[in-house]
């Protein structure tokens, strides 16, 4: 089961989807585009724990984390 994790005021909200389900994949891609368009950064973590930032939806990503745009404090 793949997961999209969105940081928010509750800590995070998790969206689980079956990557083999075409309809679920379309929804996940739409969510990816909506979040990145809103300024969120998408980071993917692979099985080895390595993290990369991505700007395009990866249907094979097991875990994608979205965090809001960073600004100077």
């Amino acid at each position: 089961m793949a997961t999209q994790i969105v940081m928010d005021h509750t800590g995070d909200t998790r969206h689980y989807f079956n990557a083999d389900d075409a309809e679920a994949l379309i929804k996940a891609e739409e969510r990816f585009k909506a979040l990145t368009s809103a300024g969120f950064t998408a980071a993917v973590r692979d099985a080895a724990g390595d993290v990369t930032v991505t700007r395009s939806f990866d249907p094979g990503a097991e875990e994608t984390l979205f965090y809001p745009r960073l600004v100077g404090g």
């Binding site: 940081m7 800590g11 995070d12 950064t41 809001p68 960073l70 404090g73």
Partner: protein, 137 residues
């Protein structure tokens, strides 16, 4: 006779132990549904999931963890907090510069720290380009 007395004497102890077990179970349930579900607890759980094993051990022991910037190779220490909590370290392990860059939405400390970690490890220059800073030595 003696056996009956022993059974009678230990009956209250059994009731006490049963009551203690019930209370522990209730406390566990409260923690699972309340304390562990707070934003702070959720964010800390998420942070710990995404830290490397070395970072996780350091965070658990010290309350901070260190990352290496992907562009410069510099070492940064991320302390628990939501602002002015990132310190660039010198070779001697002292704080050299304090950096401040945070998500533009209100998030709890664990989430802020995780966003800072990923930014420094994957797009250091972009993160520092928007950051405020102050010399610390």
């Amino acid at each position: 006779m003696l056996a009956q007395q022993l059974v009678a004497a230990t009956r209250p102890l059994g009731r006490l132990l049963a009551e203690c077990a019930r209370r522990v179970q209730a406390l566990r349930e409260w923690y699972r549904t309340t304390a562990a579900a707070t934003p702070e607890a959720r964010a800390t759980t998420l942070l710990r999931e995404w830290l490397s094993p070395q970072q996780r051990a350091q965070f658990d022991a010290e309350g901070y963890f260190e990352v290496v910037g992907c562009d410069s190779g510099k070492r940064y220490r991320i302390h628990h907090g939501t602002s002015m909590n990132v310190h660039e370290m010198d070779d001697a392990g002292h704080s050299k510069v304090g950096w401040c860059f945070v998500p533009n939405r209100r998030l709890v400390a664990g989430d802020v720290m995780l966003a800072q970690k990923i930014a420094l490890e994957t797009c250091e220059n972009s993160a520092l380009a928007v950051a405020g800073f102050r010399q610390t030595k």
